[in-house]
Each structure stands twice: as structure tokens, then as C-alpha cells.
């Protein structure tokens, strides 16, 4: 396991969170530099191994971002992602990684503010609980 590098890994669904992150940039809404976006076809593609591997590689937090509830392009993708995030929290607690460091966010492609707010919030949480 590497030393925590303070990065936030954000798995972004290409139908919602990825365009939201893009439009945040386009609107000049600035957010902390430590975010690394990984594009996925649906939040439902994100597996436990991806979340855990991110922590193993020293991420300070992991975000899974999918479509709004009930508006998932693949119907159940976002709910499955949410369940998986919940389960990963339990696993992380066992190895003493505070549960608050992995979160699922739902947003729509036209919600860049929500993306920025989520990233800011995660950064605050990681800073408060120590890098």
C-alpha cells in the first residue's frame, strides 16, 4: 500500500457526471486540483475492486457519480452502484479507513454546481479526518 497522496478518485458516468464535470470547467467553476476523473459507461460498471484498488493506491477518497435517482440511462445502474458503495464502506471500516471517504453522488449532466459541491465536500472531509 502506498502512502496516501491526498487524491480523490471520481468514477464518473459518461451520461451525467462526466458532462457535468466538463461543463464545470467550461463555466470556470474552480474546484480542488486533487480530483482524478475516471470515465465509466455507467455508475453500475464500478466494481468493488475498483474502489478498493483506488484506496490501495493511496487515494484519500473515492467518489462514485451517476445519474439522478430514477433517471439512470441504464435504469438500475445508479442503484446498483449505491449498494456497492454501501458495501465497500463496511469493508473499508474493517481496515480502519473511515467510512465517510467513499460516497455515491447522484447528479444530472446539467448540474456542474453539484459536481463542484461534491468534490469540495469530499476534500473537506478528507482534510478534517487527516490525509
Amino acid at each position: 500500500m502506498r502512502i496516501m497522496n491526498g487524491h480523490i478518485v471520481a468514477f464518473c458516468c459518461e451520461h451525467s457526471a462526466y458532462p457535468a464535470a466538463d461543463s464545470a470547467g467550461r463555466l470556470g467553476l474552480h474546484y480542488p486540483e486533487n480530483v482524478r476523473v475516471i470515465r465509466v459507461p455507467c455508475a453500475g460498471r464500478v466494481d468493488l475492486i475498483h474502489i478498493l484498488k483506488a484506496f490501495e493506491n493511496g487515494a484519500a477518497a473515492v467518489l462514485v457519480m451517476g445519474c439522478e435517482d430514477g433517471a439512470c440511462h441504464h435504469i438500475t445502474g445508479n442503484t446498483r452502484a449505491k449498494e456497492r458503495v454501501k458495501y465497500s464502506e463496511i469493508l473499508l471500516k474493517e481496515v480502519n479507513i473511515d467510512g465517510g471517504r467513499v460516497r455515491m453522488f447522484n447528479l444530472s449532466p446539467n448540474a456542474p454546481h453539484k459536481f463542484v459541491r461534491a468534490v469540495n465536500e469530499m476534500t473537506r472531509i478528507t482534510k478534517e479526518s487527516g490525509r
Binding site: A21, G25, V35, G44, T76
Partner: protein
């Protein structure tokens, strides 16, 4: 030997200012496998693309990373550039150093940009080429229903050259369109005769769908007719099963001479030899169902017509008049100008029948007082509900319905007429309470969608984009259960073993099955576990 990777950096016409490209080029050149790093300012223009092609050829590159704008813009175009240079278009990964790096942060972000490129380089190394293949599809369409939207969809499909079958449960086409006819002034019988004259359209009456199997391009449908059952093949299915109306009346009240439905009222309006013209007419709407476009239009239309034809006193009890459908605002204004009285009430009015006269009692919001109206005719509130057939068919086809029982759009804004399964569409009343303008838009968009899918008789798809490894698959059926698009079925492979078979045609490539497979047997090209993990390792 190491894979040769070429990195193309672009400063987007100097729109990226806070990255030191010279320093970045030096850093990127150190990554293993990177044989050339190019910097340009116009990669997405013709000049830039030409340079890219010649560079790929000269350096014999095997994989390409483009670090520039968001992949949402030009990923496809760069894929084509790769194809032109003789590489497979999928051997490309993009690093978003503009929207998600330069523009999103203050100050110098060279470090982050280099890291994003490193993530892309790590991913591109593992990407596999993917071939496109053509799959044949049956270009006959099944339209279920026999009302306005079904008939028009069939006529338009036939006009674009697609053979169509109209399947109606009643004995004849065009039944139950009287209300729509009198409101919108079209003639159903001429449409029905147009259908009968059309060689491309086959009509099956008194028929029901019993079973549907297969996927887009190859649905096999078992149809029960009076004579017996037939099995037919279709490329796409369009549901146009319409809606049904129900009166929102207390159970002790009954329809009769003084309490009528909108449909009956239309008939009264159309009757030239009506015995007694009603002097006072009351309408009620928008209390039980607040999402009522069609009933609103019907009420406004009929109130205005009654006022004009008989000069009666017309009172409309409502909770709110919603004028979002086409022409409704003008209609509302016209009705008010003509002297139709609108009375707003928060709770449904109380209705009593006394010696053949109807007494409506409601509390007016603006006056704050009770109003009692004695009227000759009361037009009761109508509810717009999905038909039983819609319920049956959606469970046969295994597609979702919304909380009210109407067919649920795949995406309310983007794909209003598509179901979550490819090749199944719905149009008109079966997907909600629509006004005529919306129904016509629906019909055109369904026809366009179907034409796009089936007109050429074949569909171009990425071959085996998502594939289950027969060695690893234990046929646990998890993927079949979770696939939101019904694209997975059990297939028997050589040797008699049953494994999950993913249809290239029906698959939307969401990757839900790949994440959930307990045996990790499902391989999702370009988003495989290795490829995602390689990106994480670069961070």
C-alpha cells in the same frame, strides 16, 4: 517488444494557458512505451488530422493518446483519424486536459495534466482492437393498436417504405376515436380506407399478442386470431394501445341525461336534432387528476362550442387550468372572452341530483363563499388511464411502466418514445396524457427511429464488445437477471455447456453485467477491469 504509443498534445488554439507544454512533453516522453510526443494547436482541424495521420504512419504507432479537449467532443473524429492511418479506431484514449484540468483550476496545472496523460497511456496500452460487423435485421414492423396514433404510425412507416402490420384487438380499425375526432376535426374513416388501400400495410383484426420472444431485428411474435394462432417475425414493435377514460364520480351518481361524459357531450353537440338545448351547463375538471392535458383541452373546447352553439350559460369548476399544450392558452382566453365562467375551487365540488336537476356546490377560492349551481347538464371529470392491453403487453415485453401504469420512457427528455429495450417503441396515449400536437411529434419520431434502425436491412455493431468467457461462465444467471435491456440469454455452445450469450444488437454496453458477474467472466472491451485499474495505478 513494448507497444509503441504516440501522444498528441493540443493546446486547443491556445485556449489552454496554464499548462507548460514544453515541460509536459519532456515528462511524458519518459513514460514507458511512449515513442513520440507531438505538440500542436489545431489537432481537431484538417491540418492537424493530416499531421497526425502521417506521424502515426511514420512512427509505426500501435496506440494513440490524444490529450486535448473532452472526449465528448472529438473522440469519434480521432477514432476515424486512426482508421485512416491504418490503425483500429478503438486503440485510442483521450486525456481531458482542457475542461477537467486547465479550465477547472487556477494557476499552473502542468503536474495534473502530465498525470492525466499517464492515466491515458496506461489505459491505451491494454486496449484491444474491435471490429465492426453487420447483422441482418428483419425490416417488418408490428404496430399494436387501432386508434389514431396506430393508424398514422402505420401510414407513415409505409410511406418510408417499411412493411407494417397493424394488430387490433377489436373487429375493425378506428373504433373509439369519436371524442378525438370531434375535438380535432379529422376524419378517421378516410385514414382507415387509406390503410386498407396501402399494400405495405397488413391489418390483423380481432387479434391479440400472446407471446414475444427475441430481440431487435428478430422478434418472433405469437398472435392469436379468431382462426387460430400464427407465429410471425418482426424487426421492431411499436405500442400504440392508447388510453381509456374513466369518470371521476361518486358511486351513487350515475350517468344519464343530466350527467354526461365528454364523449357523450360531443355527441350532443354534433346532434342537429337535439330535443331540448341545455340552458345551464357545468363542467368539472382537474380535481382528481392534476396531470390532465387532454381533459383540459376537451373541457375548454366543449365549453366554447356549447356557448357558441346554444348560447347556454357555461360554468367550469376547476382547481387549476394548465395551458401547456399547444393552443390551450388561446382557447382558454377565447372561452373567457365568450363568457364562459371559470370558478376555482380547492376541493372537488359536491354533486347532488334532485328531480332530474343537478346541483353543484363548491367553495370559490376568490369569493371565499359557497356557490350553488343548478344546471341542466353536468359534464363530469374524466380520468385518463392506461388500457388493460398496455399492461398486458408491457408485462409480455418486460418493459417498465410508470407509477400510473403508462409505458415509461427510457429517458423523459432525450428518448421520449423509446423503451429501455432496443426496437420497442411506444406512441400516443399509452405513454401518458398527451395532446394531439405531442402525439403527432411522437409518431414522427417513432417513424424516424424505426427507419434509422431497420431501413437498410442490417445494423452495424461493434462485434463482441461485451462478451462472456465460456470457460469462466458457470451459468449462474446473475447477468441475465440484472441486465436492464434484456440483452442476455442462455446459449448452448459446442460441447453442450450452457453459458450467457450477450446479443451485440440488444446490448447498450453499460457494463452492469461485467461488474456484477461473480465469476468475472464478462469482458467489457475498452472498460475492462485491467483498463480501469491501470488508470488508478497511474494516479
Amino acid at each position: 517488444m513494448e507497444t509503441k504509443i504516440g501522444v498528441f498534445l493540443c493546446n486547443c488554439g491556445e485556449a489552454i494557458k496554464n499548462i507548460d507544454f514544453d515541460a509536459a512533453v519532456k515528462e511524458i516522453a519518459k513514460f514507458p512505451g511512449v515513442t513520440c510526443v507531438n505538440l500542436s494547436s489545431d489537432l481537431c482541424l484538417e491540418e492537424g488530422k493530416k499531421k497526425m495521420i502521417s506521424c502515426i504512419r511514420e512512427e509505426n504507432l500501435e496506440r494513440v493518446v490524444v490529450a486535448a479537449c473532452s472526449p465528448e467532443f472529438h473522440e469519434h473524429a480521432f477514432g476515424e483519424v486512426l482508421e485512416k492511418a491504418g490503425l483500429n479506431g478503438r486503440l485510442l484514449s483521450m486525456a481531458n486536459i482542457r475542461e477537467q484540468c486547465s479550465w477547472a483550476h487556477d494557476g499552473d496545472v502542468t503536474g495534473k495534466a502530465v498525470e492525466l496523460v499517464k492515466m491515458a497511456v496506461n489505459r491505451v496500452r491494454l486496449l484491444q482492437p474491435m471490429e465492426m460487423k453487420e447483422l441482418p435485421v428483419n425490416n417488418e414492423v408490428l404496430v399494436v393498436g387501432g386508434g389514431f396514433s396506430a393508424i398514422n404510425t402505420a401510414l407513415q412507416l409505409s410511406r418510408v417504405g417499411l412493411r407494417t402490420t397493424l394488430l387490433e384487438k377489436e373487429a375493425a380499425l378506428g373504433t373509439g376515436t369519436e371524442e378525438l375526432e370531434s375535438l380535432c376535426g379529422f376524419d378517421t374513416s378516410s385514414m382507415v380506407s387509406a390503410v386498407e388501400a396501402d399494400k405495405n400495410i397488413k391489418v390483423l383484426t380481432s387479434a391479440r399478442v400472446m407471446e414475444v420472444d427475441g430481440k431487435i431485428g428478430d422478434f418472433s411474435v405469437r398472435i392469436r386470431q379468431e382462426g387460430g394462432e400464427i407465429l410471425r417475425k418482426y424487426g421492431a414493435i411499436v405500442l400504440a394501445t392508447g388510453h381509456q377514460t374513466e369518470l371521476a364520480l361518486d358511486c351513487e351518481l350515475k350517468l344519464g341525461l343530466s350527467i354526461v361524459s365528454q364523449e357523450e357531450f360531443c355527441r350532443m353537440l354534433g346532434n342537429p336534432s337535439l330535443e331540448t338545448e341545455p340552458k345551464t351547463i357545468g363542467f368539472i375538471f382537474d380535481f382528481c387528476d392534476e396531470n390532465s392535458r387532454f381533459p383540459t383541452l376537451a373541457t375548454l373546447n366543449n365549453a366554447l362550442a356549447a356557448k357558441r352553439r346554444w348560447g347556454s350559460e357555461v360554468y367550469v369548476f376547476y382547481k387549476s387550468v394548465k395551458v401547456d399544450s399547444e393552443g390551450a392558452e388561446i382557447l382558454y382566453q377565447e372561452a373567457r372572452d365568450c363568457g364562459v365562467v371559470f370558478l376555482k375551487s380547492e376541493v372537488p365540488p359536491r354533486i347532488d341530483v334532485d328531480n332530474g336537476q343537478v346541483k353543484i356546490k363548491a367553495k370559490d377560492v376568490f369569493l371565499g363563499e359557497d356557490i350553488i349551481l343548478v344546471c341542466d347538464v353536468l359534464v363530469a371529470e374524466e380520468l385518463h388511464l392506461p388500457t388493460e392491453e398496455t399492461a398486458n403487453l408491457s408485462s409480455l415485453l418486460n418493459i417498465r411502466r410508470d407509477s400510473r401504469g403508462f409505458c415509461q420512457e427510457e429517458n423523459v427528455h432525450l428518448y421520449p418514445v423509446a423503451s429501455e429495450k432496443k426496437g420497442i417503441f411506444f406512441v400516443g396515449g399509452c405513454r401518458g396524457d398527451l395532446d394531439l400536437g405531442r402525439v403527432l411529434t411522437d409518431i414522427s419520431s417513432v417513424v424516424m427511429n424505426v427507419y434509422e434502425l431497420l431501413s437498410s436491412g442490417k445494423i452495424l455493431v461493434e462485434a463482441e464488445k461485451v462478451e462472456a468467457d465460456p470457460q469462466k461462465c458457470v451459468a449462474c444467471l446473475t447477468c441475465i437477471r440484472v441486465c436492464p435491456h434484456g440483452a442476455i440469454q442462455l446459449v448452448r455452445i459446442n460441447g453442450g455447456k450452457e453459458v450467457a450469450g450477450i446479443s451485440d444488437l440488444a446490448c447498450y454496453a453499460c457494463g452492469i453485467c461485467a461488474a456484477i458477474c461473480p465469476a468475472k467472466a464478462i469482458n467489457f472491451q475498452s472498460y475492462r477491469d485491467e483498463e480501469i485499474l491501470a488508470q488508478i495505478e497511474a494516479i
